[in-house]
Symmetry: C2
Subunit: 255 residues, 2 copies
DNA sequence: ATCAGCGTTGCACATAGCGCAACGTAGGCC
DNA sequence: GGCCTACGTTGCGCTATGTGCAACGCTGAT
């Protein structure tokens, strides 16, 4: 809709990797370099990009500042943080907190595992709903109508041999997740990683986010992973309590 | 320079706090709401903002993604990370990593202290050079000509009773910092906090960043803080080594 | 000393972005 | 339950704004 803004945002994205020069950027986004220069100047004045030496630009501090400020005030994140740390401490594996956004999953916090081999991820990264444990937990939490609609709208790209490939299988899986109270990703997203995830709930029992453990298959086989489910559930419950959730006699809203 | 981009960035900054509605935003930045709507749509298409419910906008995942991606590939940060964690572990206090940018200090990493009372800060936050320990370390690392020029260009706002107030005093302080190899902020930035900082060096001995310990005065008096200098220096050296620095016989480039 | 590569500037054109005002819709109050 | 208000949304016409171009100048390399 707004051309210059659109270009500027593309520019920022292009700078996410390594610092680049004006000419590189101009070529990369297909815009005259004088235009790029002007955009960069505006971005620079807001500290969104920073000039490094005479000819290189990289992302500036405003980005970090805004990102952290915004993350900080997501209440789920704040509430869940101690639980993430504790779960990581107890298991040694990578812990993620993810939320649902626009038909995808967004990682909003993580604690790295202690092992040399571990999953690559990043806070802010987006991932598909259909092949991640966190995605399943979040999708399973939707009201049935939206769940169905959502399931029908996904593409189901096959990322590994185990990836769920169609809406029916996905819906069946989600039903199981809602039943059990946790989700499993058995090498459906990446070949050498499997995960388990559980919901973090708010005051009214609504699912705010999903908490997961991601473990390389070389460290733990599937049974070993499933053995961690009680730890996971305990951590998710701890996080939920900090987010205002109160355990109900009926066992929550899950059925 | 670019009006729409400028407005869009202002918009993003306005969203850093809490989610806001279209009207609020329009009023806040003084632009017609139809314009704001168009900008928001463009921002939304790049995931820079996210629509929450029907009428609220908040920052989107692209911001976190870009910020973390960019931080991740700052080599200093990666190299220094274990040293930060270890220093935090050993002392229990808040540890910061900061770099020099545009005549200011930018925090690029931190590990929170274990105590209930601790300094408020945030990765991406900017701070003044003249009243922070990290600022002094970074300024002291500049070649004498730039150091002088820089010192003359600062404003020296007095943030506490102890803040250095003029260029001559600052230059004298920097000379001392270069001599000692670490810097002290004795309640010059915030009333109840004092800090010590030391440089992290790269392969050619150049200063890449500053590592600091921030301690509330209620937890440790000035002597207690200074007693931590050896720990700080050891951590800074560890970080330096991971950044490619090799200890030279002459004791580095500090004199 | 010459040249190449890149950032920078001024300019003139046209488009892209703007404010306006009218419309649609959802939620709240009586 | 119906009206009203408070928002988000849309179409339109104007002009400011952002654009590409081409010439300039700096800096560093040969």
């Amino acid at each position: 809709m707004s051309q210059s803004l659109d270009r500027a945002l593309t520019l920022v994205a292009a700078l996410a990797g390594e610092p680049k020069t004006l000419d590189q950027l101009a070529e990369e986004i297909g815009v005259h370099k004088s235009t790029v220069l002007r955009l960069l100047r505006t971005l620079e004045s807001h500290h969104f990009v920073h000039r490094e030496g005479a000819r290189h630009y990289r992302l500036g501090s405003a980005l970090f500042d805004l990102a952290n400020r915004s993350l900080e005030q997501r209440d789920v994140r704040r509430g869940a943080e101690p639980a993430l740390a504790a779960l990581n401490e107890r298991t040694g594996h990578t812990v993620h907190l993810a939320s649902f956004e626009d038909g995808e999953v967004v990682y909003i916090d993580k604690v790295e595992g202690h092992h040399a081999v571990r999953m690559y991820s990043r806070v802010g990264k987006r991932a598909p709903l259909h092949c991640t444990a966190v995605g399943k937990v979040l999708a399973a939490a939707l009201p049935p109508a939206r769940r169905e609609e959502l399931a029908r709208s996904l593409d189901y790209p096959a990322l590994t041999a185990n990836t769920i490939r169609d809406a029916d299988a996905y819906l069946a899986e989600l039903a199981g997740v809602a039943e059990r109270g946790y989700a499993l990703d058995a090498r459906e997203h990446e070949d050498f990683i499997h995960c388990i995830a559980a919901p973090v709930r708010g005051a009214r029992g609504e699912v705010l986010a999903a908490l997961s453990l991601s473990v390389p298959t070389v460290l733990l086989d599937i049974d070993g992973l499933l053995a961690l489910v009680p730890d996971l559930l305990a951590a998710a419950e701890e996080a939920s309590v900090r987010c205002g959730w109160t355990r109900t006699e009926q066992g929550g809203t899950s059925r």
